[in-house]
């Protein structure tokens, strides 16, 4: 009916929070791997250029927007490729490359590169980041606090991204929505913090002496309890 309808792209505040959370997760998981910070900055710059290009393209400056977007995508590719091809232990590359890819996919879903944002791409991006978290646990390069922190960060990144798309669908990018978005992301972060605190507290009791089997039993009990809550 009017101009506001065509502008149902993901909202800016949540999108920015999602990308920030994703980048922070990646940085936190880097550990002693070399060059993560540098290549991350390069990738973020590339994503920024893609965003500018997409904005220019949509406001009618197609001649400027399209090449700008392509340049940004190339910079991102260089960042991911550069990190992947640098000399370092294979395990290090293996466990961080999904995060680099995930960050790019998440940002591409929220710019958005096409359409009004894609929930599947947000899930895919967050999945890449979560793969990093799981790999860090697998290779034992992070302690529980860091694992929990990055897992919360990943979920916040997904949640903020999904929320950006949802609010964008309802209200569009032109509407004033920062309060709504900030309170939502804050709530998700708080729940994550409480959850992480509970897990850490529980580990205080079960620090040593418990076998994996007993952990598994506790976990199954937890899942059953969830089901009992009328899932």
């Amino acid at each position: 009916m009017n101009a506001t309808h065509s502008n149902s792209r993901p909202t800016l505040v949540s999108s920015a929070l999602a990308v920030t959370a994703a980048a922070a997760v990646l940085l936190a998981l880097a550990g002693d791997a070399t060059g993560v910070g540098t290549w991350l900055v390069v990738e973020l710059v590339g994503l920024g250029i893609v965003g500018l290009g997409a904005a220019a393209y949509r406001t009618g400056y197609r001649v400027v927007g399209l090449p700008l977007g392509l340049v940004g995508a190339a910079v991102c590719a260089v960042a991911i490729g550069g990190f992947g091809s640098q000399g370092g232990p294979l395990s290090e590359l293996l466990r961080l490359v999904p995060g680099f890819l995930g960050l790019a996919v998440l940002a591409a879903a929220l710019v958005p590169v096409r359409g009004d944002g894609s929930r599947s791409l947000v899930k895919l991006g967050a999945g890449g980041l979560f793969a990093c978290v799981v790999l860090a646990g697998l290779f034992q390069t992070a302690d529980l606090t860091l694992l929990l922190g990055t897992a919360v960060g990943t979920i916040v990144a997904w949640d903020a991204g999904e929320h950006a798309i949802g609010v964008g669908e309802h209200l569009g990018r032109g509407a004033t929505t920062w309060r709504l978005e900030a309170s939502h992301v804050l709530a998700t972060t708080l729940v994550g913090a409480v959850g992480a605190a509970v897990v850490l507290f529980a580990r205080g009791f079960a620090n040593d002496g418990l076998s994996l089997a007993s952990f598994a039993m506790v976990f199954v009990a937890l899942v059953l309890l969830t089901v009992a809550l009328r899932w």
Binding site: F130, I155, L171, V191, G195, V218
Partner: protein
């Protein structure tokens, strides 16, 4: 609460949880199992938070309630949480009148509100001719997790009145026997001399021409021009076929209702009786009458009756125009004149008008033109050609048809037409 629907947005977390747990079990990493406990917390989170139906108060301020067509009107809408629970996630879409376009800002707003707190947003729209009512604002509230949402509609009466006087209504003089304006052709009681005729039993003694009786001994009765009030029923074409319009402009029903409002006012101003009816999805009959209360009732019906709904009906809706015409004919008194407002996008209306004429009701037709003529390509669309042929057919059967180009005020069209008629 019963209306809350689940959004299932947290379902994916369970996949991550089980994935992490699976890897943890296979690789014997207790840390990953603990990580999955966090996933369980997030999976339970939307179950533990809930949302109740938000109680909202919406107040709308319009910078100009009676704007000129084409001017900008700034609307400031204030939302207040009058419930006693905080609303963490509130999305409001204001009910902008369907015919008006928002030109600056957006009628959409998102916020979080504590009990009693209020927030406002504003946007600008461009006024168009007609009386425009705001529709109910839609509000969606979600719980903090976003797992449940409730949708409510909040009604607030706000109106933008952008109507101007049309000057003269294009009524047919043959039947428009308005006091002091148009003389009737039939004699009777009145003030203006019409004719004398032979006395008939029962003529009032006061009207006997006694002078003549003294001179000639013949009893004659003087007749004066009868002053009668015209009775006009405005009929709006709101059939599903009329819900069409040019790109970026309101559809023909909005234009027709706007025109009907102005025409009814003008005819009422001429001391005539005006009624209202509609050909469309809903039945409506307001018998011709006059007076202040009738005028208000008429305008209220035009602004609010469901038959004039600005939202187009469902695509497969059909209307039995023929039956509606028969119903209307049964209601009409003799000599009632009809003022039909129709974009003429259907043959049904042409047939209806011819039926009215056949039943000796004089019909005047005002037709807003919503067809597209692509002047650039030098061509006209098929719809425009068909409409022209309908107008021609009506004129051939002696119906007064006014072709109204909606981009100019109706008053201007009618004024030009009157000038042309009187040389």
């Amino acid at each position: 609460m019963s209306d809350a629907r689940r959004t299932h947005r947290w379902r994916g977390v369970l996949v991550l949880t089980l994935g992490a747990a699976g890897v943890g079990l296979l690789a014997k990493r207790p840390l990953l199992l603990m990580l999955s406990a966090l996933g369980v917390v997030y999976a339970v989170y939307p179950r533990l938070s809930s949302v109740s139906e938000p109680r909202l108060d919406i107040d709308r301020r319009v910078s100009e309630e009676n704007p000129q067509a084409g001017t900008s009107v700034e609307v400031t809408t204030t939302v207040q949480n009058v419930g006693d629970r905080p609303i963490f996630d509130l999305r409001v879409v204001d009910g902008v009148p369907p015919a008006l376009a928002v030109t600056d800002g957006t009628p959409r707003f998102g916020t979080a509100l504590r009990p009693g707190e209020r927030a406002s947003f504003s946007y600008t729209m461009t006024a168009k001719r007609g009386r425009h009512r705001f529709e109910a604002a839609t509000a969606i509230a979600r719980d903090p997790s976003g797992g449940h949402e409730v949708e409510v509609e909040v009604e607030t009466d706000t109106e933008v009145d952008c109507t101007t006087d049309v000057g003269t209504a294009p009524l047919r003089s043959q039947t428009l026997d308005v006091t002091g304006q148009n003389p009737a052709d039939s004699g009777g009681s009145g003030t203006e001399f019409h004719q004398t005729r032979a006395y008939r039993r029962g003529d009032p003694v006061g009207r006997v021409d006694w002078n003549r009786y003294a001179r000639t001994g013949e009893l004659t009765t003087i007749e004066f021009r009868e002053e009668q009030t015209a009775s006009v029923v405005v009929v709006v074409d709101a059939t599903p076929g009329a819900y069409r319009g040019r790109e970026g402009e309101p559809h023909a029903v909005v234009a027709a209702v706007g025109a009907a409002q102005q025409l009814a006012e003008t005819v009422l101003d001429g001391q005539n009786h005006v009624g209202l009816s509609v050909l469309g999805t809903d039945d409506l009959w307001l018998a011709p009458s006059s007076g202040r209360r009738h005028r208000l009732r008429l305008q209220e019906l035009l602004a609010t009756h469901s038959a004039f709904e600005a939202r187009p009906p469902e695509p497969e809706t059909t209307v039995d125009v023929e039956a509606q015409v028969e119903t209307l004919l049964a209601r009409l008194e003799d000599n009632t004149q009809l003022l039909v407002v129709s974009p003429l996008l259907d043959d049904d209306v042409v047939e209806a008008v011819q039926r009215f004429e056949a039943e000796r009701h004089r019909v005047t037709l005002v037709s807003p033109d919503v067809t597209v003529s692509d002047a650039g390509a030098g061509g006209r669309t098929l719809a425009a050609i068909e409409r022209d042929s309908r107008l021609r057919r009506l004129r051939q059967s002696d119906v007064t048809a006014v072709d109204w180009e909606t981009t100019e005020p109706l008053s201007a069209t009618l004024h030009r037409r009157t000038e042309a008629m009187h040389g």
